[in-house]
Amino acid sequence: MNTTKTTHNRRSFLKTSLLSGGGMMLSVSWLSSFKSADKRQVLNLPEQWAMLNGYIQITADNVVKLLCPNPEFGQNVMTALPMIVAEELDVDWKNVVVEMGPHDNTKLGPQFTGGSNSIRMYWKPLREAGAAARHLLRQAAAQTWNVPVEEVATKAGVLSHANGKSANYGEMADKAATLEVPKDLKLKAPKDFAIVRKSKKNVEGQKIITGKPLFGLDYRVDGMLIAMIQHPPAFGMKLKSFDASQTLKMPGIKEVFSLKLYEDGFEQGGFDTRTFNDLLVVVGKTTWEVMNARKKLLAQWEPVGDTKDTMSGRGGKREVVVPGGLESTSTQLEKMQELSQKPAQQLRKDGDPETAFQHAAQVIERTYNAPFLAHNCMEPMNFFAHVTDEKAVLAGPLQAPGWIEPTLSKILNLPADKIEIQMTRMGGGFGRRAYGHYLTEAALISKKAKAPVKLIYTREDDMTYGIYRPMYTATYRAALDANKNLIAFHVKGGGIPEHAIHANRFPAGAVENYLAEGWQIPSNITIGAFRAPRSNFNAAAEQSFLDEVAEVMGKDPIAFRLELLKRAKENPVGKNNEYDPDRYAGVLTLVRDKSGWNKPGNEKYNRGVAAYFCHNSYAAHVVDIVTRDGQPYVERVFSAMDCGIVINPDAATNMVQGAVVDGIGNAFYGALTHKNGAAEQSNFHNYRLIRHNEAPKSIDVHFVENDLDPTGLGEPPFPPVFGAVANALYKNKGKRFYNQPFQNEMDKRM
């Protein structure tokens, strides 16, 4: 994928190290460059690049190539990350060529897309990389022209001196590559930004609109075979035996075999989650042939029973029992109801909530529920693998190649440097592609088939073979005194197989007496990160509850939240409050003002508001619902975000709008249910996704303007959409919506 010949492949001159608390540190010396002999050899070859460092390559004819370190799944990092480098490098954006980098954590950093971390973790290193390269170029010009480096200016890729000399970067790249980087680098002041904060179009836009093969599913090599997995019909089942005789008679079919993904006792990392361990695999020539032949398999399945998984990771090696049994949504709901009445683990306690509730004049108690959700990336899971005894080449959609490489290395018995993982563009991710089991599966299938293989999940496989958003519940209680003051707040959350509670988030810190508790029920249904994990439920439940509490108190919902935030700022309760009350209040006041909250002219809308803090950023939405043909539709949305400096405003707006649409869709329709272990939804005919006619007519996005270092944006706008929709629906329907998906509650008796 990234075949430019550079010295990059032969030598490592970047020095990176991991910070103890997570994240990456690049010392400035990582840029100390290559030796002149090698450099000359490089530059004698016209096709090759003079690399200034891992991210920046400048040709002698002045083409600036910037590598994107992180996988792209639609959050537009391939544009935004190079913009950061280009800003400090001071080049003309029009002359910049962007390429997805190779997977190389030593040279390119952590390289994972997830947790809304891309911009946050690369902001500083990429600025330093750009600034260091610019400095080297200035130094090269200074030496060439025999002037002090301080007197060499740059503008849009051109070096100049007051004496009239000038050169473009390409002319100096040769010399610059031989120089040492100074210890101190001066970064631009935000007021001087010329690229960052100015909207740039998606660097892959032209390829996307012309249908170029960008995605994993598009990847192919000569002689490549297609593989599909027949998984058990239900969670809690495994393969007993199979008869492939009919399948093998089908045209194009090469072989059918079963294999084990992990051997007993294999130490799984946190992202080695796998849905089924015994794989029944069909390998053939073309997709259609394999799809059809798979239907002819005669397989016998049997219950798995309780199984033990061995986990490694932060807590050290440990055994986890995965319960057997065929689970159904109805019985899961009953179990959750039962557990919610039992004592739970205390997560945080401030003051004396028990006494406060005893003495309360009024207690409001409400319970919220949300189902499993399937990620439903438009590009189903797939991966290419070509594994031989000597090496493994893999290509496909994956959020974090560095998290799966150690697993591959162990399972394939190959050292990491013999494993090449190419990062294709992803047709969506939403957390699903942080779990690389499908890549390990592809690798094992290729090894067994002794051929290059593309493993493809059909939509049905993708939906029923999932790593779902967990099933959650939470009961909230608020205690009011005789004057309707909020004196205590209690949340008790549970879920399958985890609860969603973030105990140190708002309104923790704003209420004198506070209690957060959690409980969980183990399950064999596999779960994982789904856009803003846990937050996506909390914001729905908590923000809906606060709306109801404000109503009982006779307060405006925004004013009520602002009062709580004022308390959290001036006289915070407890310790470890995660949010900044000022920034939280900032998005609320911005959305209040922009939406004309409580202002005349909005009477035709049923309005709901919600705000949330997660992934280091702040989001607030006002959702306006109207009734059309007897059905409530979200017609307009106003959004306010605080994610610090916005790198690429138009693309950021696009992502917030997308998160709003995604939130509305999942709030109204999203649900994956089970009966006897089997998913009851398998494709888009019975798993409803939001469509054109259900999207709002307008989503007005506003960013708080400040010069704070940028934080995440992929996830933070998503969670509060659910709460704002619930609160607007209340105004529209006259009843509260406690259970997602809301569409299921729509036609019940009021």
Partner: protein, 151 residues
């Protein structure tokens, strides 16, 4: 297996496939035209939309045996240089996020505009609702279509 001479993007392409093979997989697996995407296989998502004699159809539901002499246009053949008005509008509005569904969206939009050059919002919704975008770029798609209609 049967041999078909299919008219695809203005050229006759010969394929030897099972008659039941959907056009989607003929394009992707046999003709190296991967711009047409697989999303659901059951005509629910629109990612596989192509034109059959100028009209949008779901290629996942169209067996090779049913194509006959009808002309197939895929995203690769929508324009010679990627400058169909719809493609230009998509760039202008920077519509795509992940981009996976966008070929199907554009093929639907181009078909809509051919028969209805100035569609209303409701007509756009009605025509485009068979095309799912999981990233939620619906507003920009609509703006892009409307901007094309204005020209």
């Amino acid at each position: 297996m049967a041999t078909y001479n299919l008219k695809i993007n203005g050229k006759i392409r010969q394929v030897n496939v099972d008659p039941s093979t959907p056009l989607l997989w003929v394009l992707r697996d046999h003709l190296d035209l991967p711009g047409t995407k697989y999303g659901c296989g059951v005509a629910q998502c629109g990612a596989c939309t192509v034109h059959l004699d100028g009209t949008a159809v779901r290629s996942c539901q169209l067996p090779a045996s049913a194509i006959g002499k009808q002309a197939v246009t895929t995203i690769e053949g929508l324009s010679a240089k990627g400058d169909h008005p719809v493609q230009k509008a998509w760039l202008e509005h920077d519509v795509a996020q992940c981009g996976y569904c966008q070929a199907g969206q554009m093929m639907s939009a181009a078909s809509l505009l051919k028969t209805n050059p100035k569609p209303t919002d409701e007509e756009i919704d009605a025509y485009m609702s068979g095309n799912i975008c999981r990233c939620g770029t619906y507003l920009r798609i609509k703006e892009a279509i409307k901007s094309t209609a204005k020209k």
